[in-house]
């Protein structure tokens, strides 16, 4: 009889979970520390400073009070980037007129993807520089921030890395925290990612 009560409890709890109308919120991803006061401190995106396709300085301040999607690419990429770009354009189209969302693409080919080359590339894509920043900058700074963004997206801590060529898209919130990521080469994953963006918008811009 005891067992029976126990089982009923489990089943009802489980059923409650399933039917719970409570909204899903996105977790804050990445490593965290506990402060001496007992608060959880989440790793956040470090300071950065890059130059975009219109020679404008792009820093953390560019994305103040906005959520933004990050990726790493290069213009002459023969394999992964074209597929990611296609999905990036879907994001661009969806949030084109939504001032709360921006896109930030870093070129990891600092030799060839000059400001002029990025400018031509953006023109070819037909994207607005205010919405989609294509940036270049110091070689090591770009590779280093790639590690920062992607460190949260690493499933296996022992894996050798190389995430700047994974085609991943990363979602960063208003507080510089990474909240979601997806495989940018996979249209279905990007569909799911867009739902995450909408969730984050609801959370951070309540009406």
């Amino acid at each position: 009889m005891k067992y029976f009560a126990f089982i009923v409890l489990i089943i009802t709890t489980w059923a409650a979970c399933l039917t719970s109308p409570e909204k899903r919120t996105l977790p804050i991803l990445g490593e965290r520390d506990i402060s001496p006061g007992g608060d959880t401190i989440y790793r956040s995106v470090p300071d950065f400073s890059f130059i975009d396709q219109d020679s404008q300085l792009v820093t953390n301040a560019t994305f103040a009070d906005k959520i933004y999607v990050v990726d790493f690419f290069f213009i002459h990429c023969p394999t992964i980037c074209p597929r990611v770009k296609k999905n990036g354009l879907r994001l661009y189209e969806k949030y084109k007129n939504d001032g709360r969302v921006m896109l930030l693409s870093h070129s990891i080919d600092v030799r060839n993807d000059t400001v002029a080359a990025l400018h031509r590339h953006a023109a070819k894509l037909g994207v607005d520089a205010k919405k989609w920043r294509l940036v270049t900058g110091d070689h090591d700074a770009i590779y280093s921030i790639a590690d920062d963004y992607f460190s949260v997206a690493v499933e296996d801590p022992d894996s050798p890395g190389g995430f700047d060529h994974s085609g991943r898209l990363i979602l960063v919130d208003k507080n510089r925290h990474v909240r979601s990521f997806c495989d940018g080469t996979n249209a279905e994953e990007v569909d799911r990612f867009m739902k995450d963006i909408d969730l984050l918008l609801e959370e951070q811009f309540p009406r």
Partner: protein
Amino acid sequence: MKYLTVLILLGFLINACGHHQHKAGNTSAATGDGPQVYACPMDCEKGKIYEQAGKCPVCGMALEAQAPAPAAEQPDNAWKILSKEAEDIHDEAMKDMAEMNRVGRQVKDVMKRAKMTKETLDKYTAVLVAMDKAEADMMTWMTQYKEPENQTDESLRYLQEQKQKIEQNRSDIRAALEAGKKIVSQ
């Protein structure tokens, strides 16, 4: 006079046969899984193959067993397979390159912090130069690589060449990465 004409004609034929000898030698070296075929060792009929052994109707020499011509042994999607292979190597090399850059930053950190003899400094610099070159080669490879749109002898040759280039680049990246790891761990 008649004899002379015949002699000249014969001379031409022998000459023509001899001319193709080298080419014929090449084809017989190729291997394939197609059915056994035969050809004149002098290639008198320019690439003609026979399904059965016998004698060349032109020069009379015994036909030699041949592997099928290389073009015939390639499946229709050989170019797709090849370009996928080249691109896979590229993707792998890109991952190694990210790791190489990570180690490169560590090398620079060490160089900033530690006091070094000129000899050590040169050694560290050489590793950074090798990393830089490997990365530049990768970027160059990507800029010039154009995936062919169909299968031709030319596109297959091109892809083989591209695959070799990117393989070389991958091993350069790995070598630079290993060299960097070695000095960072010291």
